[in-house]
């Protein structure tokens, strides 16, 4: 039955797609992409500025915390007394890890992560907004 009815339906004329509909769709998609990229660009730029500005004081805090905790002294031992460090490397590693200001390091790394992520998104959005082949 389907075959016969299908034949009947082939006599139904396909509606002609209006001229320019394909281009309209591509244009709409492009506009939406650009709008999305613009919003993302603004947001990423704000994140970039905020993280860049925050990074400097956090780095100073980290540097001071590292100095106070003696991490630098432990670290300099690797260069000044390498043989000694290697002979008891397990104790050395434990002491070094214990001396690290973990919380400050975590904050610093999180800021670096957000900074790099914002750079990634900015470069992607700039490509869409300024360098992309448009429909």
């Amino acid at each position: 039955m389907k075959t016969t009815l299908q034949k009947d339906f082939t006599q139904l004329q396909m509606q002609k797609v209006p001229n320019g509909l394909f281009e309209k769709i591509l244009h709409q998609i492009e506009m939406k992409k650009r709008k999305h990229a613009l919003l993302s660009f603004i947001f990423s730029s704000m994140v970039f500025v905020a993280t860049f500005v925050t990074m400097v004081p956090v780095f100073l805090v980290l540097h001071s915390a590292m100095s106070q905790s003696g991490s630098y002294q432990y670290f300099s031992l690797v260069f000044s007394n390498f043989g000694e460090v290697m002979s008891s490397w397990q104790d050395f590693a434990l002491s070094f890890l214990e001396s690290l200001p973990v919380f400050t390091i975590a904050i610093f790394l999180a800021i670096v992560f957000f900074l790099l992520a914002s750079v990634h998104y900015i470069s992607r959005d700039v490509k869409v907004l300024f360098f992309r082949h448009h429909f």
Binding site: M1, L5, D8, Q15, P18, F22, I25, I29, H133
Partner: protein, 184 residues
């Protein structure tokens, strides 16, 4: 190239050409489906545009274990229903006719005498207009777009048995309409 490969190329490599091929491939059938459902060329153009933009926006959520054709027709169906709901024409044609009891009809081909006429396409088209939208879209999906009952059930979010019974009713109604004097 298959639809799924084109989707993958667009999503993974941002390949604009893949997206354009997909849109070109489905523009005519989707426009035809939308036009058949709402019978208004201007609105059909807007809705078709809307269908492709929605499909593009949700392309990331497309499950590649599914059929892309079924997926995009599901979006088209939703867009048509949204439009009809806004126009408030769904309850009138959809629910009232759905609950009506039709006699079970034999499923022989549509009256040959009518369809052999030179303008039988026009007659069938005019008869389709008289079908409630849910029957009309089922008939169009099955006979014109080549979907099977399982795929139609997926598109219409209903059971295969419901699709089968609606199909019988739709064909019966179509035959009744075509047999009426106005169509001879």
């Amino acid at each position: 190239m298959e639809d799924k490969e084109l989707v993958k190329k667009y999503l993974e490599f941002d390949d604009e050409e893949a997206l354009q091929i997909l849109i070109k491939r489905y523009l005519q059938p989707i426009y035809n489906f939308v036009h058949s459902s709402i019978r208004d060329p201007e609105q059909a153009e807007d809705i078709t545009q809307d269908v492709f933009i929605k499909a593009w926006a949700h392309l990331k959520s497309f499950d590649d274990s599914k059929n892309f054709k079924v997926w995009i027709y599901t979006i088209a169906k939703h867009s048509v229903y949204d439009f009809l709901r806004k126009k408030k024409s769904i309850p009138f044609s959809f629910l009232e006719k759905e609950n009506e009891v039709y006699e079970v009809v034999d499923v022989e081909p549509l009256p040959d005498k009518i369809l052999r006429d030179a303008d039988s396409g026009k007659k069938l088209d005019a008869a389709l207009v008289k079908l409630p939208v849910n029957y009309r879209e089922l008939v169009i999906l099955y006979y014109q777009n080549g979907f099977n009952f399982r795929e139609i059930a997926e598109i219409l979010k209903t059971s295969v048995n419901t699709v089968k019974s609606r199909h019988l009713r739709a064909v019966g109604m179509l035959k009744k309409i075509l047999k009426k004097k106005d169509f001879e």
